[in-house]
């Protein structure tokens, strides 16, 4: 699990035209994307397809490997499948798709899965082309209270350290339980308790060190630029495309043009 965070962290630190975009613009664009995708009626599938361009174009321009993206999507698929699978069962109104007949339940099932794909891709691409530091900084500038931003920074940095400690402890626990996959309640509680105590002691040390260096609650961030015309242009293009793709079914239009 920690390797997963580390991968994304790596990607977030790279440099590319997408990485250089203002993080606030990317956050707002992703937000608009999510809202637009989710605003489609239940059974819509074809009109959703043009939306695939947004995450995939950003990913390729931002140097995010497609394999990485799809592996993550696959890993998160089971839960969406679980809930979406109910639809074909409960909704059996017959519906025609071109020359074939199917039920409304299968249409909404496909719609749910496609939405899932789009929303997960958008979130991953946002994280991979921005990096957590810049992301939380952007959220702070967009209005998130300071305590959230500062805490998120600490949380993120400590994640790796505490995570490593946890996996070390977990390994030693497994070794001591003769390879039983799931150790007993008592040993896990003891492990968690010790982990917690160490975490609290570490926090005190961190705080002391920060105060000794003049910390006053603000985390300085380097490389902050003001929003430029590129960022505004990016937002405008995204907004216009999302609106167009929402109002008209672009996939259907393309199909009609290609095969009248």
């Amino acid at each position: 699990m920690k390797a997963a965070v580390a991968d994304l962290d790596d990607l977030g630190r790279r440099s590319s035209p997408v990485h250089r975009l203002d993080a606030r613009a990317k956050v707002l664009a992703t937000g608009a994307f999510l809202v637009t995708v989710m605003s489609f009626p239940r059974q819509e599938v074809s009109a959703l397809t043009p939306f695939l361009f947004f995450p995939l174009v950003l990913a390729s321009l931002g140097g995010v490997p497609f394999g990485f993206l799809f592996r993550r999507v696959l890993a998160a698929l089971p839960f969406a499948l679980l809930v979406a699978l109910g639809n074909p069962f409960f909704d059996r109104v017959p519906v025609g798709v071109g020359p074939w007949e199917t039920t409304a339940g299968w249409m909404s099932f496909s719609s749910i899965l496609f939405r899932f794909l789009l929303t997960v891709l958008a979130a991953l691409v946002l994280a991979a082309t921005t990096g957590v530091d810049r992301l939380t900084d952007a959220l702070g500038r967009l209005g998130l209270p300071r305590v959230f931003v500062v805490q998120m920074s600490f949380f993120y940095r400590t994640l790796f350290v505490v995570g490593e400690e946890a996996s070390r402890m977990k390994r030693s626990l497994l070794i001591r339980s003769h390879g039983n996959k799931a150790p007993s309640f008592r040993s896990v509680v003891s492990l968690l308790g010790h982990l917690l105590l160490r975490a609290m002691a570490r926090a005190e040390r961190i705080h002391g060190a920060l105060r000794a260096r003049g910390y006053d609650g603000r985390l300085p961030s380097l490389g902050r630029r003001r929003a430029g015309w590129t960022d505004l242009g990016f937002l405008a293009v995204c907004g216009a495309s999302f609106a167009a793709a929402r109002v008209w079914n672009l996939a259907e239009m393309a199909g009609r043009w290609a095969a009248p």
Binding site: V35, S39, F116, T119, L135, F155, P183, V189, G193, M200
Partner: protein
Amino acid sequence: MHMADALVSPAVGGALWAATAGLFAWCGRRLKSSVEGPIVPLMGVLGAFVFASQMINFAIPGTGSSGHLGGGLLLAILLGPEAALVVLSSVLATQALFFADGGLLALGANILNLGFLPAFIAYPFLYRPLSGGRRSGARAWAAALLSAVAGLQLGALGVVLETRASGISALPFSGFLLLMLPIHFAIGLVEGLVTAAVVSFVARARPEAAAPADFSKRSVLAGLLIGALGIGGVGVWFASDRPDGLEWSIAKMVGREDLPRSEESVHQALEKVQEATSVLPDYALPSGAPHSSGVPEKAQTSLAGVAGGGLTLLLAGAAGLFLQRRRS
């Protein structure tokens, strides 16, 4: 229990995000003075702890399955509700961004279900009074169990209501509820046990580590009161005027919505009592009242909603006071 974006409509997601934003503003204000204090590194570290401990599964004896710590109640006990909410939001946000465990549009809903409910409802209204300030011992364990189960049940109910309100999944309400509640009851038991165990472990090693005691229950109550007024005053306008379940069943069987009046003297006597006491029969001004024809129907219903809510509050409050006095 993390809701994915694919199941949440923008209306529901947006509304819950608005509520979450309000909650964030509130927590931001309450914690403003502690931003440079030792609590913020502690919050970051505890967040990492909760995140990491979710990797550690343990066997639940007798069921053949495994579980892990959720962390909401534990964080509230160690940090207080506002700080706990901040920590949980970052954990949930990280899970959503990095692991697609829960959507971004649904993040507001998830923060409310998994953060607000354990930290602002289960902890101050259940754990604190029940545990009586103790961190170890049978009473603390019972308090943790009850609060964890209650918090998770409320969360599960929230998920079902939000899915239903979004209208994207076709799962029937009762079926979904019947699935979610029992599972999360079991999960709640595990959460309660682990929380109680970790808290008592820490309390013995570090007796001074305690949550700040200045959390205002009154603010949560005020918030709930405003919510109740809103629903009673305005929400009721949207109530369906179709017959309720019982009336509908009776109508199907008998042909009309209420049964014929009984000739028994007891029934008649009680009916007289009801006629005398009902100020707003059927939630509207009585038809014979002097001003009833001039008052619009919506206003009558609002009046009924607000008056009824206020009366219930008075009665419940009085009962609570009475019971408290008797106990001490």
